[in-house]
Symmetry: D2
Subunit: 391 residues, 4 copies
């Protein structure tokens, strides 16, 4: 689902439009998965969001399916049970000693900088990052940190920019140390642009040498890996801590994992609770994410492969043109010239292909590749576009 600023008032009054945005018509047919009772996602293709974006019916079906294979061991205040199992699994995948479940990525990023910055309040971030723009200044307002923005209107900052900032900080009338460097990659506000991997390595090496902590906002880290072939563990090895979303593509209704050194994270559940993030039962979130991890890499790889075939095929259709994001990952622009975007969307939905609302500034759509793209042959999807364009 498109990750956009929300106006509550608009939202609240937009009632009727909502189910469509969520990928299921209110009066539509029961998805095949629900009808058959199997853990079968059906053939619905959702060209939006990083994952399947489940409906309540799909989610409940998935939960039943998981339970039918064995008991779900509940947690108690987000400790133990399937929550702990998910934490251990994610720690192993990311090559870190410890991983902690958190209800949202906002809290994961916040706690990562909060616990690593003690006494050194300056935190370097991308000006275009989620933490700097879209987290309500939580780190500044609640944790007394000073987030210093780098790389204005760009995705990647360089070692030289970091060094200049560190030097400047130390040279003030009251010298201040940089406590943490945060890198977001892929970068949501830049349509999935990837932070340059060479710069990333140089910056993390410098930080380690200077005793500056590093955190990777890897909400969509598995998207990056699907495109670069660099494993999540390789990325994570550069950083002290890394956050990965559990809801964007692992189907949890909400949730995030923060991974890093045991010494840093073993007691984090106290901090989580202090922030009101210690859900009494988090198993409904964790169980689904743990289940979805199985086979994710292959499913997403199939989606990526399908995307590689789809994009030139769409570009070849009259009235459509595909525009890739430079140094991008799973997001691309589809410009629509000639056909009416709204009609195109409606035509595709009728064939089980969901697009987000048209984006006027793009002159078409911002589309995402995810695992649903591989639910049916690409040729079928292309054919659906072709007939919708012609209609």
């Amino acid at each position: 689902m498109a990750d956009r600023p929300i106006s509550r008032r608009t939202f609240v009054h937009a009632g009727a439009a909502l189910p469509l945005a969520l990928g299921l018509r209110r009066d539509g047919p029961v998805p095949r998965a629900l009808a058959t009772g199997r853990d079968d996602p059906g053939t619905l293709v959702k060209l939006m969001g990083d994952g399947p974006s489940q409906t309540p019916a799909e989610y409940t079906q998935l939960l039943s399916s998981i339970l039918s294979r064995g008991e779900i061991e509940p947690d108690y205040y987000s400790n133990g049970g399937v929550v702990e199992a998910l934490e251990k699994r994610m720690a192993a995948i990311l090559g870190k000693e410890r991983a902690v479940f958190l209800p949202t990525g906002t809290l994961a990023n916040h706690l990562a900088v909060r616990i690593q910055a003690r006494g050194r309040a300056r935190v370097l971030v991308q000006q275009e990052s989620h933490l700097y723009n879209d987290s309500g200044d939580c780190a500044e307002v609640l944790s007394n940190l000073n987030l210093v923005p780098l790389a204005p209107s760009r995705g990647t900052f360089t070692l030289e920019e970091v060094q200049a900032l560190v030097t400047r900080s130390r040279g003030g009338r009251v010298p201040r140390e940089v406590g943490v460097i945060v890198i977001e990659s892929p970068i949501r506000r830049r349509l999935g642009e990837l932070f340059d991997y060479g710069d990333m390595g140089r910056i993390c090496d410098f930080a380690r040498h200077e005793g500056i902590a590093t955190h990777l906002d890897g909400a969509r880290l598995f998207m990056a890996s699907g495109y670069t072939g660099i494993t999540p563990a390789e990325y994570a090895s550069r950083f002290d801590t890394v956050y990965v979303s559990m809801w964007k593509y692992f189907n949890a209704p909400s949730g995030a994992v923060l991974a890093g050194p045991a010494a840093l994270l073993d007691d984090l559940y106290h901090e989580r609770r202090m922030f009101g993030g210690g859900l009494p039962y988090a198993w409904p979130l964790a169980a689904v994410a743990l289940h979805s991890l199985d086979g994710f890499e292959a499913r997403f790889a199939a989606g990526v492969e399908a995307g590689r075939t789809l994009k030139p095929a769409l570009n070849a259709l009259r009235g459509l043109s595909v525009e890739e994001v430079p140094n991008g990952s799973n997001v691309f622009r589809l410009r629509v010239e000639g056909p009416d975007a709204g009609r195109l969307r409606a035509g595709l939905e009728a064939k089980g292909i969901l697009l987000p609302a048209p984006n006027a500034s793009v002159g078409g759509f911002v589309l995402s590749v995810n695992e649903t793209l591989a639910r049916r042959p690409v040729a079928d999807t292309v054919e659906a576009f072709r007939s919708a364009v012609s209609a």
Copy 2:
């Protein structure tokens, strides 16, 4: 479920004991509700916790049952859909203009004092309250408030104590105003003791007159109403804001509602998001709570009535004595002299009556009355105790 301090290490290593604590044996029979496919809670009696404390199987069954009656309209970042429906329902029940869903009660209490205290950092609380003891000093550490404890080792504080504190605050070298008065009732740390209703009224009247905000930590407010006959709305009318738990007895895996004036709460979802409490999908929590509200009052009243019969009957059994909490609500102590507490508990569990772990300081058990007590005739429950005591 007993609400107790957690030692993570103990917890993690206590694996085997966990399912029992949660009310279902790992290898036990499938609850009737699941076997029959109906929204039927079975006859399991749980003499612990304020509500049914569902297992994953029970929860999933409940979700399926809700879906079978109609679609669940999802929220988006905890706004809209069934979350909004729950908010409106709770606002109506509590007689407030606006109610906002929050992931935990910790956050609900915290935001209530945070948003009402602006610039007046002193917040009066009970020394024995949850906010003062069990919230990790969130209001102090994250919101720069000064929580001033009243009523040491008591449940209720008086208007005179409040007035003395207000006067003292104004008389310091740097005069400070009291910004908020918080009252928790029933009081968890005092086994459900109720704050004196007369004092509550006098204090709230004084506060209104002085321009001091008031907040009711009514996590278990519906327990109080079940015993006093004073409706939740009557209690809430005394206070500017009130928090009610959605998980303790309304079956949500997690969740809370904060209700109060629209002017105060309309934009609270931004603050919720800043704290990392804006779950992308909260409908799995809200849908269940909204469903459980239907008929709750009657179900709980039946439980209360059953408790009124049960307690003298247990007290009459050899080796058992019931001790009521002065000015209490749904919690009572069961002293066990003679029989072995562990054996007693095991014997009862075999008959579908679940007790919490024995409590050495009580010399028996701390038991709770909730709606499950009415799932079978009290005589059956008494008989189960009698035979377990004799065994």
Copy 3:
């Protein structure tokens, strides 16, 4: 000067009364010291405040006198020069590695708890302490600390109370550690009452064993030593840090010293500057305090000795009765029955003996012993009282 809450509005409009309160009549004779150009305090006896409470003329005269004996080496942003000399002198007197000059005692106490509490936000204080009552909640509002009050309406708290609090803190749902214990002695709000020395020792031993930092608010520490014979260094040896006022009895217009371990305090000047406490030139404050340290012990001892003679003599006068503070230091109450308190005060001022404004709740005056009491024979002072009483 009496240390009392200030109402700015009252203050501003109380213009005419001010010079009297400050110990010098607007139209009075030039003090002898100024007339003769010597560093001679004259024979003015001020039965209020802990020290001489200098007028602008007295202060300027003192500064000139200091300069006449040698250059004053200025500081630069409160570092170096005579400020550093004062810091070294105080560190030596207090037996600490390092001492840092701060503009006020409020900041000294605040920084002491701020820098020692990192991550352990609970700070135990006396409910009657200056830090808890009269510092505008600075530690709570600016440093996110939770000040927990002990010993309600008493001066001394006990080891048992400390232990109970530490245990309670660790047992909350989110365990919290006590970071610092602060003891104020003598206690201003209790008229100079001394904290019990035995309890002080037991508490500090316990704290050291538990890794809890300790701070002594010894604003008036030298008063205590003058009465107990326990040296400032002996007191200070119990604690990690200690603050001593530079203005109450060492004649600086403002100023405080915080002493403790070098590792803790070496970089404190950055924190001082961050708070806006890095005065560009602090030498006008430090030079006077450093000068006044010379011979203070003997001058104050003479005052104490004079007080020991004065009090029974006053008590023997008709219409006057002296009431000592239990476990007190240099403050005592003088009840006035019969004579008019205002007339008594005016009569004494005419003879060069200054009293504070009458205190209705005491039924007379709250008087302080300080070094000015030894400026003339006690018999003269008693005689002055006798004739004022009779007038």
Copy 4:
């Protein structure tokens, strides 16, 4: 005096060099002012700092001189007396309802943004400003504000940059409002560069329209006025609050004034005290500043005029070249090619003309025009340079 970053360790060990830096040789002759007992500043020319930068002897002499003309009415905890007189005088000069004395400019700027930003945590500042670089992140660390830097490596930012930031802030996932815009002018880190007056007006108009507060860091505001002819009151009328230094050119050992609306500042003394900035006696600071205000405008105008003659004359000397700061005020660079800078400085000091330490990055000196330049005919000063260059 040059306003430079301080390394305490360097500073402490640089003992011998200090008095020279402060403008008086340790073993030098007694300044004429002291010898004659008059309030006569002598003929010492100090081409550094914004004002006379008094020595202890000069300061004490000035205090005596003030006292000789009439009593100084002391303050009590920085309220009343000569402190209040200074506040009223500054309020009148700046055209504001109210002015409050604060011990340092760091605190003045901090409190200005703190009290005006309530609930709107984003504060726009110049990246090159003192508040952003040299105040230890006080606003971020102590007041939970988010300082957003504008105009990287420039002095002036534009209305368009402000508008873009405001729009971006409102468009984040959690919309944030800009609370305050701060403008520093002249800008210390840019050698006295002035913020463009047209941009200043446009920005302040926009802010007023949007309900955003504005603050002028006018530490050196009177320098600006001396060059632009725009009065301090005209500048101040643009802004809600303005801070002016009392020590840089008004001879207080320390001190600042914050001026603005009465409703905002009437109770600021409480906040001042909470920060530890309520000096028990501030009259030694305030009395001197109040005295120095008399005639300042004329004295500084004479200095500016002397500077206008001096600069081309120095530029004409062999081996010297003057470089003006674009859009600057009282600071200029003197490049020295040929003569040895250290020898030049020593030669001038022997003639009563003090220069700061040479600045390698400038290839000479960074000099300041202040009122001392008019203490002797410019021709004499030029002649001193000529002979020092030739030596």
